[in-house]
């Protein structure tokens, strides 16, 4: 464990860290999630070679950390997240969870998708049941699955909407279903791919506050992709800043804002300083 920690420290030191990140003592607990030289490439259309979405990404995330990934469109932040989910195969490099390489989707990880990815023929409760049906059919009875789904529907504030279909819900409510579906399978790592990207600004802020309140209850390791700087700071223990062409990690910023965070957090001097810093970093 120690040896592993040491390599990581030197690897991290090798990447130019910001003053903010370095100001913390670099004594890392054993990493929950680790990316080692992760490169993701896609075939260009008509055999025009490969498009490098993410190049040589290294990252180390301790258990219970809320990490946000921020960067411009095309910086590969979603590809990075989906490869951690096991849904995109890296061209080279490796994703490790608790030291074990990821080879595909697993019960230890659950994804919240940008476009919600709800099944339109299923009601709210049945959409939340979806992951449980796929993963727990052998171990839980149908009634237990429903009871568990109901609990998570209530957790995300959709009590009373159990039997609505997605098309009857607003965007914010749909993503609550998406979050409930992911939380219901009790993953170790929660992966959120621009979950509030298609919501209006006000709904987005509300959803962010509620998500962080839910997260505070059990502090699972979470990765949250966004292109909103404010959202990235508000939620994060750590911000991974990425840049495009090729997609790569340019900076990792630790956020030392007290929790629980509220809307007022966003007006604090420190918050504004982080915002300035990230904006500079993204230039």
């Amino acid at each position: 464990m120690d040896a592993e920690g040491t390599t990581t420290d030197s690897a991290l030191a090798g990447r130019k860290l910001s003053a903010t990140a370095l100001s913390r003592p670099v004594v890392e607990p054993a990493a929950h999630l680790r990316l080692e030289n992760l490169t993701i490439a896609y075939d260009k259309p008509k055999g025009a070679g490969k498009l490098i979405a993410v190049s040589e990404a290294n990252l180390e995330i301790p258990r219970g950390t809320f990490v946000t990934i921020v960067g411009p469109s095309g910086c590969g932040k979603s590809s990075l997240l989906l490869s951690i989910a096991g849904l995109v195969k890296p061209a080279s490099g490796v994703v490790k969870v608790d030291g074990k390489p990821v080879t595909g989707p697993g019960r230890d990880r659950a994804v919240v998708f940008q476009d919600f990815a709800l099944m339109p023929w299923r009601t709210v409760i049945d959409n939340v049941r979806f992951g449980l049906e796929l993963q727990r059919q052998r171990t839980l009875s149908a009634d237990d699955i429903t009871a568990r789904a109901r609990r998570f529907v209530e957790l995300v504030g959709l009590k009373g909407f159990e039997h609505y279909h997605p098309h009857q819900l607003s965007g914010g409510m749909r993503q609550r279903v998406g979050i409930a579906r992911a939380l219901a399978v009790d993953p170790d790592i929660l992966l959120l791919d621009e979950p509030f990207g298609s919501l209006d600004a006000q709904t987005r802020d509300e959803m962010g506050s509620e998500l962080i309140a839910i997260w505070e209850q059990n502090r699972k390791t979470a990765l949250f992709v966004t292109h909103s700087i404010d959202e990235a700071i508000f939620l994060a223990d750590r911000i991974v800043v990425m840049d495009a062409n090729p997609g790569r990690i340019t900076e990792i910023v630790s956020v030392d804002l007290p929790r629980p965070r509220t809307v007022e957090t966003m007006d604090s001097k420190e918050f504004i300083e982080y915002r300035r810093h990230i904006r500079e970093s993204l230039k």
Partner: protein
């Protein structure tokens, strides 16, 4: 009663009233147009006498067998072609060519191949129904969004689970639409097939009444057939809606 239902009912009632009253007033010749009362009388006559029951049984059997075969082959093949792009590229041009072909024009050859018995009608009903079922099932599968499959995979679903939980319910709307369109084409195939060359069936009756200039009798059979097609189509739609919300 809703405004829409009220207008529809009034329109239908007005049509039936005019149909009955215009011949009575001497405005049109009932030998050509018939009348509701005459059609009902003819129907009573048809049901009591002759081969009516046998004809209905033959037509229904031809329809049921041809249509079931069309579903049994069209739906699985459509699902397969929808999922496997190379197979679709291979078979899409011939399918579209067949779709554009007026299959009823092939009746003379089909009768040569299969005779004037039930087989030739089953074949025509099948040929008419299978293509819309196939094409719409294919479209249904292609309407399954990538993100639904990705979501299922993120919860560790593989092949069969993805098919049962996502692809099948996701394409159900297309399947049901195809079955509805195929149904009326199967009915048409049976009736026209029987009208062309046959020994029994409602199409056979229609042809006979037509040649004998018995408009009342002919219209009773035609209305019976369209009533059947309408009821069956509605039944499929209701079943589809039930299945869709139940789909999991």
């Amino acid at each position: 009663m809703s405004y829409r239902a009220l207008v529809s009912t009034l329109t239908a009632a007005a049509f039936i009233a005019l149909w009955e009253l215009l011949p009575r007033a001497g405005a049109v010749d009932p030998r050509f147009t018939s009348q509701p009362s005459r059609v009902i009388a003819a129907g009573w006559e048809i049901i009591r006498t002759g081969n009516f029951r046998h004809d209905v049984a033959v037509s229904l059997a031809e329809f049921a067998i041809g249509f079931s075969l069309a579903i049994a082959i069209g739906v699985p093949l459509g699902l397969l072609l929808g999922r496997f792009t190379p197979l679709r590229y291979l078979l899409d041009p011939p399918i579209m060519a067949i779709y554009a072909t007026p299959h009823l024009a092939l009746l003379p050859i089909i009768v040569v191949w299969l005779g004037i018995g039930m087989q030739s009608k089953i074949a025509v009903a099948f040929a008419g129904a299978v293509i819309p079922i196939l094409v719409n099932t294919m479209a249904g599968v292609r309407g399954v969004e990538r993100s639904w499959i990705l979501a299922a995979r993120s919860f560790c679903a593989r092949g069969w689970d993805v098919f049962l939980k996502v692809i099948l319910p996701g394409s159900l709307a297309g399947v049901i639409l195809g079955i509805r369109l195929g149904l009326s084409r199967a009915v048409l195939g049976v009736v026209v097939g029987e009208m062309y060359q046959s020994q029994a069936g409602l199409g056979n009756e229609v042809m006979r009444y037509g040649s004998e200039f018995r408009t009342d009798y002919l219209l009773f059979d035609v209305l019976l057939i369209s009533g059947f097609a309408l009821a069956a189509t509605s039944a499929v739609r209701v079943l589809g809606e039930k299945l869709w919300t139940f789909g999991k």
